[in-house]
Symmetry: C2
Subunit: 245 residues, 2 copies
Amino acid sequence: MQLELSVDRSSPVPLYFQLSQQLEAAIEHGTLTPGSLLGNEIELAARLGLSRPTVRQAIQSLVDKGLLVRRRGVGTQVVHSQVKRPLELSSLYDDLEAAGQRPATRVLVNKLVPASAEVAAALGVAEDSDVHRVERLRLAHGEPMAYLCNFLPPGLIDLDTDQLETTGLYRLMRAAGITLHSARQSIGARAATTEEAERLAEETGAPLLTMQRVTFDDTGRAVEYGTHTYRPTRYSFEFQLLVRT
Amino acid sequence: MQLELSVDRSSPVPLYFQLSQQLEAAIEHGTLTPGSLLGNEIELAARLGLSRPTVRQAIQSLVDKGLLVRRRGVGTQVVHSQVKRPLELSSLYDDLEAAGQRPATRVLVNKLVPASAEVAAALGVAEDSDVHRVERLRLAHGEPMAYLCNFLPPGLIDLDTDQLETTGLYRLMRAAGITLHSARQSIGARAATTEEAERLAEETGAPLLTMQRVTFDDTGRAVEYGTHTYRPTRYSFEFQLLVRT
DNA sequence: GTAGTCAGATTGTCCGGACATACAGATTGA
DNA sequence: TCAATCTGTATGTCCGGACAATCTGACTAC
């Protein structure tokens, strides 16, 4: 069957983007079934009244997302496996909300403190200089799920406790005009100390999932350093990843 | 200072790839310092005797890798933060070897077994049909580090125990002509059972880091399903990730 | 002095074409 | 019958050009 595709040249949205979105929607919706050929680029371009480079750009973006596979001499086809999303830089809050869990946050600490050596190194600021320290308890369905301790350099964002209780940190940062670009993460596990256990309603010595992360904006500045502990019975890290080529 | 760049038109290596590799090397080597402008595309193209689309393709590949940032009206500059690698689909064996640890593998099980419901679902094969089951203990410096249990569909690869002891599973699969494409991972933690503790020389109830993974090739077939447990005192997952744009 | 405006610079998008390269299947030869 | 070769098809690479969108900084007007 013929796929219904069309582009709006009067729209400010780039043509290749319009096309890639329609193709992605068709894949998501099942109109383009896994394994099916996409039809050659030349004809597709002619059918849409676009040039081949534009069509290629649209297809390439979906190849990069892992939705399509190109084979020289064969064609472009939809991958069989259900690709979800390739581990984006998302916040726990958004993840929980998307999963239908009603997330809640209890802000335990929100103040300026002198940076420890560890924090100073991670954020690239001078030791003992002032940094924001935010400690939060993240709940889902009223049950504690994670304990989040974050450090931010000063002057970057105005951290309002009320806002922190109603939304995620990443969303606040994006809203403040910070372009999140990359992050360096480390995921591990360890036994809960008595203090940690108490916070998360676990037993002392119970296994905890830990995550440390330094986030950078597009200028390469470190904009956030966080040390998080999760209850492994309530949370695990799930993600899809692609090979780099 | 002027960066020394040149391309070899007689080489079968694509021109844009030659350029991107030279730029990447210059960034890695420090010749291109973080924050420095790359010079505009037009002039760069003229200097190298290339067309602008070719130069753009080279630059774009580095932008995708997170090494460069483009700004309309400003230019292209090197990001400040030290980007390592964006979480490729690597094997524990390669990771350890790259880190200078001398990895060793002890194959505990290597046989065909009927697929359980869980395995059948992950690999997309019929329940009770034959699948390879491989259990391995991964050691570093003679100390147990991880227990790896993997399942593979039959007919895909010849699993030789000797080879499994001297290299990683992924390397074997790639050598067998399998193109690894994507994987779905889940990382969590739990307390060690007595059996698990014994295998890894830990105490019963000690925290363990767990990872489950289904790997797909470029046709979308599931080619491997694995359940791994790591000693968190010896291993943690470290990776860099980029925002998708 | 401050805000608005304008011009230059640079990347973003798009076009049309050309040739190279690799794959699959049909044809041909032994 | 089987293997080597040819051929068509589709993507991969590359070119040269055109115009649009956006950012920076300087200029101008109030």
